[in-house]
Structure formats: structure tokens, C-alpha cells
Symmetry: C2
DNA sequence: GTAAATGCAAACCGTTTGCTGTACA
DNA sequence: TGTACAGCAAACGGTTTGCATTTAC
């Protein structure tokens, strides 16, 4: 909940209001371990505020994205998945095409390479969405050429 | 149109039929320079076959994806964009958040890093979707910290 | 008190599906 | 000629919007 104060100040800075629902949705997102979609956020929020509506969830998720407190990812399901941002830990996602498992990755090297590409082309990169898909250790067809190291 | 024969054989191998519409949609995709969405593909196809329908476009794009002849990308617009695959040239996309321009990237280093991550975790990667967003050279706010090299 | 946000339902938009007629093999 | 496909329109699912009401400030 440490981001609650920064949320409050960012909101007030813009002349917006810190409502019960907005706080709730941020809390739901921060306490979610995985990558909930809007429906899951709605369901979890509804447990604590049965009167909350879908529109509020979507509007608040959009607001959190704008404020840099949440990220939306396309994990290959055709709809958005959300995640509270921890700026100290940028990471990427792998989705198994068979079992649907999502694995998170950290790769400082990819961040570095991206930064260097950005500099070369004069681009200011604000977001990196790197999404792998394929087959995880357990769903991989036997004899596939990607060797597993012990 | 060099992929037409491989398209024909791939199709026949599966007991499917090589229709006028399927050939047309592949040709439209191959002759498109950018990253058309389904609607743009439909519009271009319709110029040459006014009776073609949306369903055929979607079904054929899905087929081309399955056969590895087309890729679908999320370029941050909330709907799919398509591209004919040139297997010799895997690349990534940057979208400018202000002017919408899409820049293509090649980075063997990122491919290598990805491959190495894949090996370490025992994952078989079949697809890499790397999408940057931010501001291009012309839309970048002045004084932004990402230095441009001459 | 007043501007902004909520909740509801309807609209929206990209995509998929069921069905009947058409055309490839 | 038989089977897969096309075209149409209706359904679908996720998301957005308009509007009356509520709420934070």
C-alpha cells in the first residue's frame, strides 16, 4: 500500500478525486499475484464493494495506466491483463500455448539492448512489451531442439 | 508471390482447397508495405473482388497464421495488425504514441538473448512479440533524457 | 455548493459463428 | 459429385459511453 500516498497526490495534482473505489481497485491490483484481467479485478473488488460497476473498473484501470501505476499486457488471449507496476522490477512474460501458464522474466540485457537501440534511432521509449509464447518445460513436444540446462 | 506455391502445397497437404479468395488475401498481404488491420485487408481485397466478405478475410488470416505465412501484432491499438512473414527477417515494432508511426527494428542481439533465456528455463519459444512504445524523433518532448546520436 | 466520479444499461467495435448456397478437386 | 469453402447476418465478448445520481472536496 506504499503507493497509496503517491496515488493520492498524483490524483489531487490533476484536480481529480480520491474515491473509495479508486483506492479499492489499486489495492486489489497490488494484492493480486498474477495478471488479472478486468473481469477478475471486478470480481475481487466486488467482494469488498458489491455495488461497484464494470465501468468504474475500466475507468480506474485506464487511470492507473496513465499514472504509471499499472500496466496492461496482451498475453495472447485477445483481451487485456493488468498488473501493478513495481518500477524497480521491469519484466517480461512468457505464455505456454498449451497449458496457459505465464512465466515472468527479468533480463537486464534486453533492457540494455533496447535502450541502446532507442539512442541510435532517436526514440524515447516509455514502454517495452516483450511477450514470448511457445511451450513450457512440461508441455514441450519430446525431442524439440531447445535444450534444457540442469 | 514466391510463397504462392508453398501456400498451395501447404493447403493441399491438409486436404483444404486453394480458393480464389485465399490467394487474393495472401497477395494483398504480401503487397502491403505496412501493418494493415483486418479492415484494411478487407478493403484492399474488395477492390479486386467486390463480393468478398469479412468472415473470409478473418478466416483466411487465421489460416495464414497457422501456416506460418502471416503474423498478427498488437501495436497498442486494441486490435490486430497483420503482416506477411519473411522468415529471413524477424523484426520488432515501435509505435509512436503521438503520431502513431510504426518503426521496424532488427536486433539479432535480442533474438540471441531470448534464445539463451529459453535454453536456461527449458522453454520452447515459437513466437516473440516485442513491442516498444514511446515518442519518435519528431514527437519527443524537448529535453527528454534519451540522447539522439548523429 | 459544485465539479467530478459512480453505477447502470445501452452502445460500440473487432471478431467469430451458424447457416445456406457455391465452387474447388 | 461430394466436401470444403464463401458470403451473409446475427451473435459474441471485451470495452466504452451517455446519463442521472452520488460523493469528494
Amino acid at each position: 500500500m506504499r503507493s497509496n500516498e503517491s496515488f493520492a497526490s498524483a490524483i489531487r495534482l490533476r484536480g481529480m478525486k480520491l474515491t473509495r473505489q479508486r483506492q479499492l481497485i489499486l489495492e486489489v491490483l497490488e494484492s493480486s499475484r498474477g495478471h488479472p484481467d478486468a473481469e477478475m479485478v471486478y470480481a475481487k473488488a466486488k467482494e469488498r464493494d458489491p455495488r461497484i460497476g464494470f465501468a468504474t473498473v475500466y475507468r480506474t484501470l485506464a487511470l492507473l495506466k496513465q499514472l504509471g501505476l499499472a500496466e496492461e499486457h496482451n498475453l495472447g488471449e485477445g483481451h487485456g491483463h493488468f498488473e501493478a507496476v513495481d518500477k524497480t522490477k521491469p519484466h517480461f512474460h512468457f505464455t505456454c500455448l498449451k497449458c496457459g501458464k505465464v512465466v515472468e522474466f527479468v533480463s537486464p540485457q534486453i533492457l540494455r539492448t533496447t535502450q541502446s537501440l532507442c539512442e541510435k534511432k532517436g526514440l524515447l521509449v516509455t514502454d517495452i512489451h516483450l511477450h514470448f509464447s511457445g511451450y513450457c518445460r512440461h508441455c514441450r513436444p519430446a525431442g524439440s531442439e531447445c535444450a534444457e540446462k540442469p
